[in-house]
Symmetry: C2
Subunit: 198 residues, 2 copies
């Protein structure tokens, strides 16, 4: 397998984390999105949507980080067997891409990587409360559950962990979320866990 | 089953369409999002994220339209059997929620339902090119494929059809997309198809 990725991206980290926990060896290809390398004609043949990550499996390309997690987790302990629980895992993965990533990940990208916080000040002001709304939903769920689905670590946790645990790099304060912080520690203690730097 | 929904929403229509094609009887509960009925304390007990649709199955609540489609399609002709094709279906469903819905659905909502196009003029100007970028990706794929995955109608098509076929209500011009228009007609000719009004 081959992973086309930009290393600091949480969407790419998700896949590295799961690959490590599954013990799967793979090759990394760095795509520098700051230099728009995901928008070259060459890369658009790999993913016409011009985004990383893309997982290459036997010469076929799979874009969308959460689709890659889903593919890799099939038949493993990282995806439940019960049909309703499977749908709940996907529920949280769609929540992450729709209600969490566009706010928490995007603000972190502007602030910590693109260094464009000033240029994007209005957008940051608009998106910050929406990021906190996502964290509120997570905190409420984690006040009654150890993990997102069936009290077992799954790809729902991997997905939500990726940008949540580095949300402070974008300026979010996690100190007001005790259950979320405890869940971050539980995720970090999973066998085979690696940090986003790895 | 019970569907908590706002009838004009494409995210709700997706589920009605699949339920009809599967021949499943269900009850509808209307939640008027224009009156913020998805943000009442009562509704937040059903979905803490305050969004419709929510599918109720045996007293349990499943938010996120695409998670509901996934749940309903398991073991049916609307979801492929091959593992990589399954991941590709999810790839397009995540594409829809991340790269398509926030632009095409949101602009339609402002223009055609909330009547707030003037108030949101700046946001519409920002989002319009991103909506067209999603339509471009779809057109490119459909120029070489009858449907999104394996040339067979699946929940990937249902997901993308929901807001694409009414994109003009938000001001998008579909006339420049011949392959996309032909795909819309193919979807509309599927057995058990119902329109968004139904």
């Amino acid at each position: 397998m081959r992973l086309y990725q930009y290393h600091p991206s949480g969407n790419c980290y998700k896949i590295r984390l799961l690959l490590n926990q599954l013990g799967i060896l793979y090759e990394k290809v760095e795509i520098d999105i700051l230099r728009r390398e995901s928008r070259t004609p060459e890369f658009l043949r790999i993913n016409p949507n011009g985004r990383i990550p893309v997982l290459e499996v036997n010469g076929r390309y799979l874009p969308e980080s959460n689709a890659a997690l889903y593919y890799l987790a099939q038949g493993t302990r990282f995806f439940p067997q019960d049909r309703f629980a499977q749908a709940q895992v996907l529920q949280w993965m769609f929540f992450e891409q729709y209600s969490h990533e566009p706010y928490i990940a995007t603000i972190r990208f502007w602030v910590a990587f693109q260094r464009s916080a000033q240029k994007n000040a209005d957008e940051i002001r608009r998106r910050m409360p929406l990021g906190y709304a996502a964290l509120d939903v997570m905190e409420r769920h984690l006040s009654q559950n150890l993990y997102f689905v069936d009290n077992r670590y799954s790809i729902a946790d991997i997905t939500l962990f990726a940008y949540t645990h580095v949300a402070e790099e974008g300026g979010f304060q996690l100190s007001r979320y005790p259950h979320l912080q405890a869940w971050i520690r539980r995720v970090q203690q999973q066998p085979g866990h690696i940090s986003i730097e790895n």
